[in-house]
Symmetry: C2
Subunit: 217 residues, 2 copies
């Protein structure tokens, strides 16, 4: 009970700050995606594929949110794009204030800002950071019931990426049921089925992102 | 900053309440395991296997923590054991107060109480609930780097179960590196490699639990 009474004002002030962050990104017409998924769902691998496909045509920044360390930023820096690391320490999600703290490091206009949130299906969904929208990543080994068990994220995410479809032959994961579970929480969700390890299914996602980026030009 | 100053007193009072819960379980010499892992890491499937192997010899209770719904309790009730559901609603973890609320529902002595926490590697590690110890579940599709990225859980867990070893041939997951990453955070961690879908590796875990249960008799 104690925590609920604290959470509400925190969320309200977070939302105000998220609006300020949004104004910052709007100045450069940046498309900002808040990428949320479980630990090991393949957030970094999906980002790697997207960066490889789009970096010749677009200016891309990746903001990496992690409790500790910079394993993912180091992986991404090999792609020769700009990255910024946020370490959340005790916090299990990024919020608008943490995001605001790194805005002064953004010195040039980016077409696309990919924010990799902390691996967690719960709290990251509760905190806006100034994104255009949330992108949920659901990997097939997690099971097709996850949209039912973690409904807020799937309700809010405009795009849902079902990752690791290369593992489907070895799993009891039903794509049709997964889609129904997602659409049950969010009938307008745009769903892509991909494998970040084989590259399967990325054409659709890349086309979608290119259209989104063109709208902003 | 705001949140950190709030968190500390919340944790202190949580710990006091966890001690009270512990006293409750000590009256019946119950072994209480706080089972923590990512969404889809196989917590419920591991519990199913353990229950099947031990229910003829021991009284078992499963406490299911979920944001919403009761999918897992329904799965487990098919095994004809007692289950109690806790819905955490906005909270991403169980805490000692939520656990205390269901203690009055516990009407008989149980040898083994398996508490399935909310799927999350971060916050559940921060809140004691009155357990004997934490059991971390790491599934192979999540990657062998997760102990580095979510250190607190792996630091605190007495037992770490590496699940889904049947998928190893299809993944870039190095068991040796995973073990090193776990031991780096917690040299005393007891590690089991299992597949809840094939049953591989459960003998070791079941033997371990039987010994733990015998100590309490």
């Amino acid at each position: 009970m104690k925590k609920i009474s604290i959470l509400k004002p925190v969320l309200v002030s977070n939302q105000e700050r998220a609006k300020e962050n949004r104004k910052f990104f709007d100045k450069t017409n940046s498309l900002v995606l808040n990428i949320i998924g479980s630990p090991g769902s393949g957030k970094t691998s999906v980002i790697e594929r997207v960066v490889k496909d789009l970096k010749s045509s677009y200016q891309i920044l990746v903001i990496e949110g992690d409790i500790k360390g910079s394993i993912d930023s180091e992986r991404l820096s090999k792609l020769k794009i700009d990255t910024i690391q946020i370490n959340t320490l005790t916090e299990c999600h990024l919020d608008a204030f943490m995001t605001a703290q790194v805005l002064p490091q953004i010195k040039k206009p980016y077409d696309l800002v990919l924010v990799e949130n902390v691996g967690n299906l719960v709290c990251p969904a509760e905190f806006e950071i100034g994104e255009d929208y949330k992108v949920a990543i659901l990997s097939t080994p997690e099971g097709d019931d996850k949209p039912l068990k973690y409904p807020l994220l799937f309700h809010l995410a405009r795009v849902v990426i079902i990752n690791k479809v290369d593992l489907l032959p070895y799993l009891d994961f039903n794509i049709k049921r997964a889609r129904e579970n997602i659409k049950g929480k969010n009938p307008k969700a745009i769903i892509f089925e991909v494998s970040a390890s084989t590259g399967e299914g990325f054409e659709g996602l890349i086309d979608f992102l290119k259209k989104e980026l063109t709208k902003r030009k």
